[in-house]
């Protein structure tokens, strides 16, 4: 990570009464410092990477407070860190992307939840669900339920989020239970403001050490402790949590107010805190709330979605005919729990849940408006007192208009006639991973289809067009491990993919060590770009960190491979498609058994450009020689078959109208985004495509003799060149 977060770090030092402006996840970071945490850990992943990035640059702030911070090797490592809070009154927080990170962390989380905690233990979860998500769609809710951890889902404004972080530690300590705090992706990225309080130095810290080590067999995961722990969960911790939630008022109840409150009294809305703003917007659209969220309808906001507080719920529902539950995702855990609470309380209140909205998927503006309009169509706001007739009328009209708005999508589809082309994220311009997939594609043109076990990382984009390489993706670092069942069943060698991030996360043990130990005969391609690039280019053990002063990477992948007995290892520069193709061909066809590893070596271009650009700008400014490289296409030579695009997919390799009026198909062209990585040329060579590519090295501020030689050559070439004439004659010239 070469980016600097100095501006963000400065925000972490704001004091009492000062106003913080910024992103949700950075507000969480500040809230942790205001909560007196002793230690913080985590593993990067959108949308919580920013927390780790900023703390990584905030050494001074952390040292002042005595807080220990580490960028953990995996989510499992981060979760295990919370073990510090089991025996000692240490507050700690860790973070990762859910649900994938929670899956990785689940062993430690279960043990943590069973043992219980003395110091507040909080997990900040980036709930990557819905539009723009890059992971499998599941809810974290299930984890909270199965392990008896409490799950917070605060209203998505900065003051509420910050308060939720601070109260999470109190809740955790009051109930001896770790707390999960989930923030949806948009809440992590929401920009807003809150009024700060001072950072709080932790009671015990690196400045104020613990006096003595503690042993308590009751905290160990062996019988009989485990049975006592389970009883403790349901008999002590659960009621304690419910008591705290009620007394601290963590859930919020807004009674109906203003014009129309009388008529709306028989109805109510229960909403997950994170969906509050969207729900209010739908009410506004239906004429049932003002700009500040004041509504005639009573609203109960679940800032704690697990556990529920049954008497609070029953109390809210008691005098109501029908209650609308706004719960996102599936299964509908809250709906089921509410139904049970109402039944046990003997209440006849009608519960309207998932059916009104959607069984699956994000509750965006469209889903919320549709679902809530449907609710008010079935349960009209009563017009009992004559004074309320206009409101009831207005709402009925708005409900009608909502159905018109619901048809806009269909209307647009009809007007467009054909759906617009999809534009999923893909490899960046100049990405070193793209050429590896070009080589794999060329390889399969010769060998026929091969089974490719793909992995998590930027390289997962290899599964998209134009490559469509990768038959399975089973999890981060699991590319090689997921080949072990299919490889023995295949007629041809199976190829697995792994990034260097995945390698250190767990791929080395679950993949490489397992393959060597079980004597697999297969091929592993490790994409070594130096960072966990998909999460925002964080450093990994094999990163070369110039910031640390050292040129050498801390850990070496090749040495690790050889150390566990992999003898067939080849390192190939990523952009050399021809060499890569030959190496892969050898790997799938050699008579040598065992695991064969090809390390594709090329630094993440995003990070490279981040370093290079300012450097070159400075050199240019100073009048120094700077060379840049661009690729280009001769548009008269290109015939518009686009085989090059099918082998590259580079965003900067695109198309434009054919300059030849006789030709119909657009020709290839390289746009201004080109960073000169060389893939176009290498692919044209390796794939024997066409002679239209050329490379231009452009030298700014050339030395005098370079300029002289160039002029001389140009003069000679000018004489040799054919006469300058347009490629095609203007049509219709004969008249």
């Amino acid at each position: 990570m070469e980016r600097s977060f100095a501006a963000e770090v400065a925000k972490l030092t704001l004091g009492e009464g000062e106003v913080f402006h910024g992103e949700g996840i950075l507000a969480v970071t500040k809230a942790l410092l205001q909560s007196g945490v002793s230690y913080i850990g985590g593993y990067q992943g959108a949308p919580v990477s920013h927390l780790i990035d900023v703390l990584g640059d905030a050494r001074e702030v952390l040292d002042d407070l005595g807080i220990y911070f580490e960028n953990s090797a995996s989510e499992a490592g981060a979760a295990a860190m919370l073990g510090a809070s089991i025996n000692y009154p240490l507050r700690g927080a860790v973070t990762w992307k859910s649900t994938v990170g929670t899956n990785v962390a689940s062993d430690a989380l279960s043990n943590l939840a069973s043992a219980g905690v003395k110091g507040g233990a909080v997990v900040i979860l980036g709930e990557d669900y819905g539009e723009g998500s890059s992971i499998i769609q599941e809810r974290t809710h299930a984890f909270a339920m199965k392990s008896q951890m409490w799950l917070l889902d605060p209203r998505p404004n900065l003051p509420s989020i910050v308060a939720a972080v601070e109260r999470s530690f109190d809740l955790s300590e009051a109930s001896s239970t770790p707390v999960l705090l989930q923030l949806r992706i948009r809440a992590c990225h929401v920009h807003g403001s809150f009024t700060c309080s001072d950072n709080r130095p932790p009671r015990y810290s690196r400045r104020q050490a613990l006096e003595k080590a503690e042993f308590d067999y009751g905290r160990i995961c062996l019988p009989p402790s485990i049975h006592a722990q389970e009883r403790h969960k349901v008999e002590e911790r659960w009621p304690a949590a419910q008591r705290f939630i009620r007394e601290a008022g963590l859930n919020e109840r807004f009674d109906g107010q203003g014009e129309g409150a009388e008529g709306a009294r028989g109805l109510g809305i229960i909403v997950q805190g994170g969906l509050y703003n969207g729900m209010i917007r739908a009410l506004q659209q239906l004429g049932l709330a003002d700009a500040f969220g004041r509504s005639p309808l009573p609203i109960y906001v679940l800032n704690v979605v697990y556990p529920l507080v049954p008497d609070e719920v029953a109390d809210f529902c008691r005098d109501k005919q029908a209650v609308l539950l706004v719960e996102e995702g599936q299964p509908k855990y809250i709906e089921e729990a509410l139904a049970a609470i109402l039944r046990k309380a003997g209440l006849a209140t009608e519960l309207d849940g998932g059916e009104a909205f959607a069984r699956a998927g994000e509750y965006n503006g469209e889903v919320l408006l549709k679902g809530m309009a449907a609710f008010f169509a079935r349960h009209p706001v009563a017009a009992a007192p004559a004074a309320q007739a206009p409101l009831a009328q207005a709402v009925a009209e708005r409900v009608e208009d909502a159905s018109r708005l619901g048809r806009l999508r269909a209307q647009a589809a009809a007007a467009l006639g054909a759906p617009v082309p999809a534009r999923p994220p893909g490899f960046c311009v100049g990405c070193p991973e793209r050429p590896v997939f070009a080589a794999l594609k060329l390889l399969q043109a010769r060998t026929g289809p091969l089974h490719v076990s793909a992995d998590i990382g930027c390289h997962t984009f290899g599964t998209l067009p134009p490559f469509n390489i990768g038959s399975t993706v089973l999890g981060y670092g699991l590319g090689l491990a997921s080949s072990s069942g299919v490889a023995p069943m295949m007629d041809t060698r199976v190829v697995s993919i792994m990034g260097d991030g995945g390698f250190w996360h767990n791929g080395f043990t679950s993949g490489v060590v397992n393959a060597v130990y079980n004597r697999h005969d297969s091929v592993l391609v490790i994409l070594k770009n130096g960072y966990t690039s998909a999460t925002g280019t964080q450093a990994i053990p094999s990163s070369v960190r110039e910031a640390d002063g050292g040129k050498e990477a801390a850990l070496d992948i090749e040495a690790a491979l050889r150390g566990v007995g992999v003898s067939w290892v080849r390192k190939v520069p990523s952009y050399e498609v021809g060499t890569m193709l030959r190496t892969l061909e050898e790997a799938v066809s050699t008579l040598e058994g065992g695991l064969k590893v090809v390390i594709a070596d090329g630094e993440c271009q995003l990070e490279r450009q981040r370093k290079l650009k300012p450097l070159n700008a400075r050199r240019l400014q100073a009048g120094q020689r700077v060379q840049r490289t661009r690729f280009a296409v001769d548009d008269g030579v290109c015939t518009g078959d686009h085989a090059c695009v099918r082998l590259s997919g580079c965003p900067s390799l695109t198309i434009k109208p054919n300059p030849n009026p006789l030709r119909i198909d657009p020709v290839a062209t390289v746009n201004q985004g080109c960073v000169g990585c060389g893939l176009c040329g290498a692919a044209a060579h390796a794939g024997t495509l066409c002679p239209s590519f050329y490379k231009v090295d452009i030298v700014a501020n050339p030395r005098w003799w370079e300029r002289a030689l160039y002029r001389l050559r140009q003069a000679a070439i000018g004489v040799l060149a054919g006469r300058a004439r347009p490629l095609s004659q203007p049509a219709g010239a004969f008249q």
């Binding site: 402006h21 929401v190 969207g278 209010i280 917007r281 506004q284 700009a291 500040f292 503006g365 469209e366 408006l369 708005l405 806009l408 999508r409 647009a412 007007a415 467009l416 006639g417 054909a418 082309p421 534009r423 994220p425 960046c428 311009v429 067009p465 134009p466 023995p488 007629d491 060698r493 005969d521 066809s589 058994g593 661009r630 008269g636 030579v637 686009h642 085989a643 006789l662 119909i664 495509l689 002679p691 590519f693 490379k695 231009v696 030298v699 700014a700 160039y710 050559r713 070439i717 040799l720 060149a721 300058a724 347009p726 490629l727 203007p730 049509a731 219709g732 010239a733 004969f734 008249q735």
Partner: protein, 509 residues
């Protein structure tokens, strides 16, 4: 009834500065003391994919709100967006497609240029989405449309598209911000301020003037009518009207490709097809397709042609422009060529070529050549190759191409009388012939299979389906299925694949 927040949806591509644009809006609102909120779903979308930023601004100073906080939404909804700003044509289409433009409320501001999606670029023919569809839908579904080529303006002003887009958003009048406050925010951001302000001003003025997208002034290459020889004019005049402009273009290109005699042969063959078509009562539809594709086929790409195109005077000028070289900068140019046995053989006389090809067998992969064409020696080598032009009519490639053309023309002519629609389809199949190496071989193979089918009496619908299938996948699977033929061999260059050695060792030991 009540003051509503102004809601703004920005649709952009990763790397276009949508985040910076959001920051400007937040900065302006904050400076005006308006409550503001922005959200985004960047995630991996920052990597070149489509992405959106959503902002809401409550257009009243906090001081006037008495401590009340407006509740602002985190996602856009139908009927709830005031201003959509899209940095590209299809992204505007995507917003429409998602039902987020309301004819009663939404102003749509977008750039009319295209950034093609991989799905469009990777097709073997023309896979571009028809942009007119977006304009049609925008007119129907937006309250107002402001659209012009913002990328072009950004290039000219030396800035990034987000500055022009910001200017256009403010110029639309739908943001509750005065222009000066926005310019102040750009100044505060401190990066490339002057260029950004130029881009902003240009976008603002175009939007404020509501100038139409169509008013793009393109400096069309001055079309000087070249005088054509009288005999050519006479030959062209004898052709059906729809054929004439294409034939004139074809004639000119073939004179350039070979010589006037070669171009005359083109006109003769074309004239024959047109005569047959006229006899069959056709108006020149088939003739027009033949005029186009026969010219392209006769001007097939060989190493001589490539060398000629790469050594033209005008290329030397275009090259500097193409890569954005500034005056005073020195260029080094490297051509990526990979001549193989096939290219070499195609230049030899037919019999020698056949002999050599038999000897070489499957060793066809060629050698990778990086030729420096900015050096005198490298450029001279290309010029030498260019000199083989006069030799071309005696080459093996010439003979095979002419034979293949004759077969194609014969197939077209044969169908003109009984099924002109089939003849038209066959004429359109000329577009399969293009490219180099494997691409060219595939095109020849595809056309051959379709002509086989035509000669066995396939009807127009079958031929059309086959032509489309030929452009569906490079392996030719769809074409084979379309013509009910066995699929082509999956392993043209078999690699010996080794399986489970250790296990087999264990079993045999």
């Amino acid at each position: 009834m009540m003051q509503k927040p102004v809601s703004i949806l920005v649709a952009a591509l990763g790397g276009e500065g949508g985040g910076v644009l959001s920051d400007w809006i937040i900065d302006v609102a904050t400076a005006l003391d308006f409550p503001v909120q922005s959200t985004s779903v960047p995630g991996v979308a920052q990597r070149t994919g489509a992405t959106t930023y959503y902002l809401e601004v409550y257009p009243q100073p906090r001081a006037a709100l008495g401590g009340q906080q407006p509740v602002l939404a985190l996602t856009p909804g139908p009927g709830d967006v005031d201003l959509v700003a899209a940095s590209e044509l299809v992204e505007a289409g995507r917003v429409l497609q998602n039902g987020l433009a309301d004819p009663a409320r939404t102003t749509l501001v977008f750039s009319t240029h295209r950034e093609y999606a991989v799905a469009e670029k990777m097709q073997m023919g023309d896979g571009r989405y028809d942009g007119e569809r977006v304009f049609d839908a925008a007119r129907e579904l937006a309250r107002e449309v402001i659209a012009f080529d913002m990328r072009d303006i950004a290039w000219r002003q030396g800035t990034i598209i987000n500055t022009v887009l910001f200017g256009a958003m403010v110029g639309s009048g739908r943001l509750p911000f005065p222009r000066e406050a926005c310019e102040a925010a750009i100044r505060r951001s401190g990066k490339a301020v002057e260029a950004s302000l130029r881009g902003f001003a240009a976008g603002y003025e175009r939007a404020a003037a509501r100038s139409q997208a169509a008013a793009e002034e393109r400096e069309a290459a001055a079309a000087q009518a070249l005088p054509l020889p009288a005999e050519v004019n006479a030959a062209l005049a004898a052709l059906p009207p729809p054929v004439r402009p294409l034939a004139a273009e074809g004639w000119a290109q073939l004179v350039d490709y070979q010589d006037a005699a070669y171009a005359r042969r083109y006109l003769e063959q074309l004239t024959q097809v047109c005569a047959r078509e006229r006899e069959a009562g056709g108006a020149g539809a088939v003739g027009a397709e033949v005029a186009r594709f026969l010219a392209l086929w006769m001007g097939y790409e060989d190493v001589v042609r490539v060398a000629e195109l790469k050594t033209r005077g005008e290329r030397l000028q275009r090259l500097r422009r193409e890569v954005g070289a500034k005056p005073g900068e020195v260029l080094r140019v490297t051509e990526y060529l990979k001549p193989g046995m096939e290219e070499l053989c195609s230049l030899l006389p037919p019999r020698l070529a056949q002999w050599l090809e038999r000897r070489a067998g499957s060793q066809r992969r060629g050698f990778a050549l990086r030729l420096r064409s900015d050096t005198v020696a490298g450029f001279a080598a290309l010029c030498l190759l260019r000199g083989f032009k006069r030799w071309r009519p005696r080459s093996a490639r010439y003979a095979t191409e002419q034979a293949a053309m004759r077969r194609w023309l014969a197939a077209i002519t044969a169908r003109l009388a009984d099924e002109p629609a089939a003849a038209l389809e066959l004429a359109r199949c000329g577009n399969l012939i293009k490219g180099y190496g494997d691409t060219a071989a595939r095109g020849r193979r595809s056309l051959g299979l379709i002509l086989d089918a035509a000669e066995q009496g396939a009807d127009a619908a079958t031929l059309r389906a086959a032509r489309e299938a030929a452009l569906a996948d490079p392996a030719g699977l769809a074409l084979s299925r379309s013509l009910s033929l066995p699929e082509p061999a999956a392993r043209p260059v078999p690699v010996r694949l080794v399986r489970r050695r250790q296990e087999e060792d264990a079993l045999t030991s």
